[in-house]
Amino acid sequence: MKSVVKQEVLALNGDEAVAYAAKQSDVDVVAAYPITPQTIIVERFSEYVANGEVETQFVCTESEHSALTACLAASVTGARAFTASASAGLALMHEMLFVTSGCRAPVVMAIANRALSAPLNIHGDHSDTMAQRDSGWIQIYVENAQEAYDSVIQAFKIAENPEVLLPAIVGLDGFTLSHTLENVHVLPDDVVRKFIGVRQFITVINHEGKAVPFRLDPENPTTMGPIALPNYYFEFKRQQEEAMRNALKVISQVNDEYAEISGRKYGDGLLEPYHIGDAEIGIVCLGSTAGTVKSVVDELRAKGVKAGLLRMRTFRPFPVKGVVEALENVKAIAVMDRSMSFGGNGGPVFQEVRNALYDSQKRPQIVNYIYGLGGRDTNPTQIHGIFKDLQRIIEKGRVENLVNFVGLRE
């Protein structure tokens, strides 16, 4: 069924695209706190509230910790809740990220990815969300403002799916995406509303043995966020892992359903391959850098070099199967990490991609590049350099430096 809707084109930066998507998503509660480079999201949303363009309770909390808390509490009360943050703000939320996923509250949060202090730096990298890797949130990284818009809408539908019921982060690179104006195709309001639908609630058995909706409801009391001792805690965590597995499927489904109305599709929703199928040398990366890599791939392909890209759109849940299928026939792979795992064996994306390939019979050569920390620019020349390195690795048949730094003064 092809029924792509006619869409308006708006000039929006990444933050504005996120705010616009949230506006169309019939969000009940937004609780937020300002932080660069996220602030434009809540500023725009405040304007929608001030002008009566949304039916949303906007709560300007006194901290990010309270912002996420209020979203979580609103969510378990039955509201659709949204917030946005970055860097130190996300770090301050750390405790509540685990509580939100543990309470199975489908809160959606946009993160304008930014470096962490010290030294203080307001510019883009992935340190903030990578540090929250194990907090039980779905993590989607976008390449441009259009995808930021599309992904926020999709995130509500994914998070609220009864098979999932997990909170979701949509990460957009600070400044590179958050503050850069692009043409963004937007769907009509009613189409977005219909696509996401009204929030539905699963049924649980409460302490009285009564089947009740999974929300705080005076007529159907439930105890939410209890203490679970060693005899039950583990099962709660296992269920969260199950939900993450389910999310792999749901993210792909939602990506397909969204393509039907919008005409836009991001790979299978988890991974976006770009000339990776027959590639000999390939790069894996997240976020806006993929745009730069794509243009370099185009240049190399024009010269007959078999270069490719695998853009990881979904980092949590990690699409192991897709990664192996896409990469095992590539001879040499460079994984680009825009964050560091200090003292670790490479950056977080590298560790996981390499881990996934362990079981492959083919075990391609694989190397890690840490890049762009604190907003340092990553240009096409550097990407060309990485592809050249990969060619050398193929020639030599081995990786000399497992972890490398791009564009760094040494």
Partner: protein, 329 residues
């Protein structure tokens, strides 16, 4: 003129009202906070959602798969009971507007101990009150971090021995004063602030109801003895909660739109100062103050009496009361 609905009730009415904080919880024998919660629940007037900060009461009441809560109840973390309440209240407002819930009104109550209020919870509390959310915040004050094993908090009184302010050979327990938390809340210019003590159960229940009725944020500071932490007799928790009022250690008052007024049990003492008991009577029945009754730390005992008197005089001034006999005790 009448800000609150008149509500007359007898002890029988209260006893017959079904419990919403159910038995079977794991609180210690003689637990003040557990009694306080049971009384608070007697003031519930309609659809209500509760949220609880991490602490003794959260832990003893919600051990999965059991619960003591016959009402919808949410716990998320330690420092954020007021932020929970903000989110619940915001959700209720908008869901009602959109016709997605049927309740005309839902009362929201946040419960927290002294740690979750004076210390780690004060930021979220201050923020939620400043934003004007319509909720009642109940502080059950047992004057230390009891859940983790009796560590001093901003609500621990001067001279009390706790596991992090132990009475030693050179230090006589906690050296700092109890933070005047209820006054700090009054300074937020919120519509309703009150103090209560479970011995005066009628006063307590009435104040909970008032806190629910008021439009906007309300704060109730409830005295809640902890026999484990205070090293007091399990059978004397209610007696202690009477002594605290009679010695003016914990005066009962309300501040309605910032106007202070003494509640009857304390007003009696203001009008008949001879009825005011010396603080010593309250301190000597608690092991946490035992060291103050040794000659070495006797000075501290005087200091505590002086501070309690000073605070009492300041309160009387705020209430516009000039004592008939301005005799020094």
């Amino acid at each position: 003129m009448e800000m609150f609905t008149e509500w007359k009730f007898t002890a029988k009415d209260i006893a017959e009202k079904p419990d919403l904080f159910l038995s079977g919880h794991r609180a210690c024998a003689g637990c003040g906070p557990a009694t306080v919660l049971r009384l608070i629940m007697k003031a519930i007037r309609g659809p209500t959602i509760l949220t609880n900060a991490t602490g003794c009461m959260e832990v003893v009441s919600s051990i999965y798969p059991y619960t003591s809560w016959a009402l919808p109840w949410l716990h998320t973390a330690f420092e954020n009971a007021a932020a929970n309440a903000s989110g619940i209240e915001a959700a209720i407002k908008i869901l009602k507007k959109k016709g997605r819930i049927k309740y005309e009104h839902v009362d929201v109550i946040a419960l927290a101990g002294d740690g979750g209020t004076y210390d780690i919870g004060i930021q979220a509390l201050s923020g939620a009150v400043e934003r004007g959310h319509d909720f009642l915040f109940v502080l059950y004050d047992n004057e230390a971090y009891m859940n983790t094993g009796i560590q001093r908090s901003g609500g621990t009184p001067l001279g009390a021995s706790t596991t992090t302010s132990p009475a030693g050979t050179v230090i006589p327990g906690k050296l700092e004063h109890k933070k005047p938390i209820a006054d700090i809340m009054v300074a937020h210019e919120m519509p309703y602030v009150a103090t209560a003590s479970p011995y005066y159960w009628r006063d307590l229940i009435t104040k909970v109801r008032r806190g629910l009725e008021v439009d906007g944020p309300a704060f109730l500071h409830v005295f809640a003895p902890c026999p484990r932490g205070w090293r007091s007799d399990q059978a004397k928790s209610i007696e202690l909660s009477r002594l605290a009022v009679e010695t003016c250690v914990f005066p009962l008052w309300e501040a309605i739109n910032g106007e202070y007024q003494l509640s009857t049990p304390s007003k009696v003492l203001a009008l008949s100062p001879e009825k005011k008991k010396p603080v010593k009577e309250y301190l000597q029945v608690q092991g946490r103050f035992r060291h103050l009754f040794t000659p070495k730390y006797a000075k501290m005992l005087e200091e505590i009496q002086r501070i309690i008197d000073e605070r009492w005089q300041r309160l009387l001034k705020k209430c516009g009361i000039t004592q008939p006999a301005a005799k020094k005790e």
